[in-house]
């Protein structure tokens, strides 16, 4: 399975949706990492994510760290309430750049 990735101008937006748990993290990681290879600006849209656990958050952290290494821009776009709640609990709401 792959998540939709859309080129919009100079950026790629990867759309994650549904429940991002251990069963989905390989696909999420691949979609985001593939996009990081193709563009200097990546947005991960989380508006339609109803559930994310520590495995999903780990993918986002990995991607942010990879983007930093590659000197690319990385944003979380429109995170759902479920995502923000988990990020705040882990005090990661200040680690990521969040765009609405």
């Amino acid at each position: 399975m792959e998540y939709k990735a859309e080129l919009q101008g100079d950026k790629i937006i990867v759309y994650l949706d549904g429940e991002i748990d251990l069963d989905k993290t390989d696909a999420a990681r691949k979609s985001i990492m593939d996009s990081l290879e193709k563009s200097n600006k990546i947005f991960v849209n989380l508006n339609a994510v109803k559930y994310i656990d520590s495995s999903g958050v780990s993918v986002l952290i990995e991607a942010q760290q990879k983007a930093n290494e590659m000197e690319k821009e990385f944003y979380l776009q429109s995170p759902s309430d479920a995502v923000m709640s988990v990020l705040k609990m882990a005090k990661l709401d200040v680690f990521f750049k969040i765009s609405n």
């Binding site: 748990d21 251990l22 656990d53 520590s54 882990a90």
Partner: protein
């Protein structure tokens, strides 16, 4: 008490969460509390698949029991995987940002009590997550 058994593979984790959600009463917990409890159980189940069953085992099961009385919710998780050593479970320091290590932190943050019980006859590990009702 409600009980169900699930095949110990990662594609079943959503079914464990759905089972727990179906038994949480909106009179006992708010929407946020419900989501947090589901997250805690989801994390504990994921730990069983990843660690007790080393990535998953379709020949093995995870049993989930839910018990609610007027004061507390108890979620029991049973597995037949590698025995847990509770002293080895340490949530990571949140300031040390890296992938991994957040599951135990979330469980401890959300639930009022997290306890491993003694090994039983049919199961190797028995974890009890407790949440006080308001």
């Amino acid at each position: 008490m409600e009980s169900n058994e699930f095949i110990a593979t990662k594609d079943q984790l959503k079914n464990i969460r759905a089972f727990v959600k179906s038994h949480l009463n909106e009179k006992d917990f708010s929407k946020d509390e419900t989501e947090n409890i589901i997250l805690a159980v989801g994390e504990a189940s994921m730990n069983i698949v990843q660690h007790a069953y080393k990535g998953g085992n379709e020949d093995k099961k995870i049993k989930v029991e839910i018990e609610i009385n007027e004061k507390k919710l108890f979620v029991h998780l049973f597995d037949q995987g590698k025995p847990v050593v509770p002293e080895n479970i340490k949530p990571r320091d949140l300031k040390n940002i890296k992938p991994g290590g957040l599951g135990s932190f979330f469980i401890g943050e959300i639930m009022d009590e997290v306890k491993f019980m003694s090994k039983g006859k049919d199961w190797i590990n028995h974890l009890v997550l407790t949440k006080n009702l308001k």
